[in-house]
Symmetry: C2
DNA sequence: GTAGTTGCAAAGGCTTTGCACGACG
DNA sequence: CGTCGTGCAAAGCCTTTGCAACTAC
């Protein structure tokens, strides 16, 4: 009755990609993952990286983020949490505050939708950029 | 001290574009706006539409949305509110529940960022798609 | 053995941009 | 009249895809 889960093979490429996302807490883009994994697997292709990111997020092993300013990013932290994007340098970081489940009930009531989840992005300026800005 | 506001000219293209966004509550994409405005101004180009959307959102006359699934959308409703995207048909609608300002304070505390705003997207299934699904 | 995967390269979708002409103020 | 805006077309960026060879199970 549920979604047909296709069985994933454990390939070297897949392992390195998953590993690389887990290793970094900086929510890398597909291209960043590609460049890093290529240090270990020089023959991997960008297409493979994209295909794996698709499959891995489809099966819930990574989370795909689409912050306002640009390309997709990937997050290995699976527990519910929010994100913040620095509007100056573009970095994306976790915001570890508890998810507000009540928001979804409110939204369901207000819209008539069946709500499955929500995504919350804060925008702001990171401490480093703030310091740089203060120093002119 | 504030951002240098450049003065906008009132061109027919700009007027029709702004008008078209205001007229529809469906958060049209750039291409949808283009196709609609072209009925009145057949010689307008897609490039002009994009340039105006850029300028208009830069000056706060429209709001630019970037829902997870695909291209930018535009919203003429300027008061703070949230959005929901139907994961089946892709439509985007307003969610008129009050913004939670306390979220930003929490996020600032948790991250050290200076928070300027936040974007909240709900995902779910709209009543129409739900009905269609129930009817097999 | 055979489905799922990979590399490579080409194609695709959306958005941005260079340029010369046009029009708003 | 000087800018700012426009149309057109080309370029750009990120992502997806077709295909034949390959490999995990």
């Amino acid at each position: 009755m549920a979604a047909p889960v296709k069985k994933l093979r454990v390939t070297r490429q897949r392992q390195f990609i998953l590993d690389e996302i887990g290793r970094s807490s900086e929510h890398p883009t597909a291209d960043e993952i590609y460049r890093r994994v290529r240090r270990k697997l020089p023959r991997i292709s960008l297409g493979t990286v994209y295909r794996n990111l698709e499959v891995l997020s489809e099966s819930g092993l990574v989370r795909r983020l689409t912050p306002g300013g640009g390309q997709m990013r990937f997050d290995a932290r699976l527990s519910p949490h929010y994100h913040v994007r620095c509007t100056v340098c573009g970095r994306v970081e976790d915001v570890l505050v508890p998810e507000r489940a009540d928001l979804e009930q409110e939204a369901a009531r207000a819209t008539g939708y069946e709500i499955d989840g929500h995504t919350l992005f804060f925008e702001g300026i990171c401490p480093q950029c703030r310091a740089r800005r203060a120093a002119h």
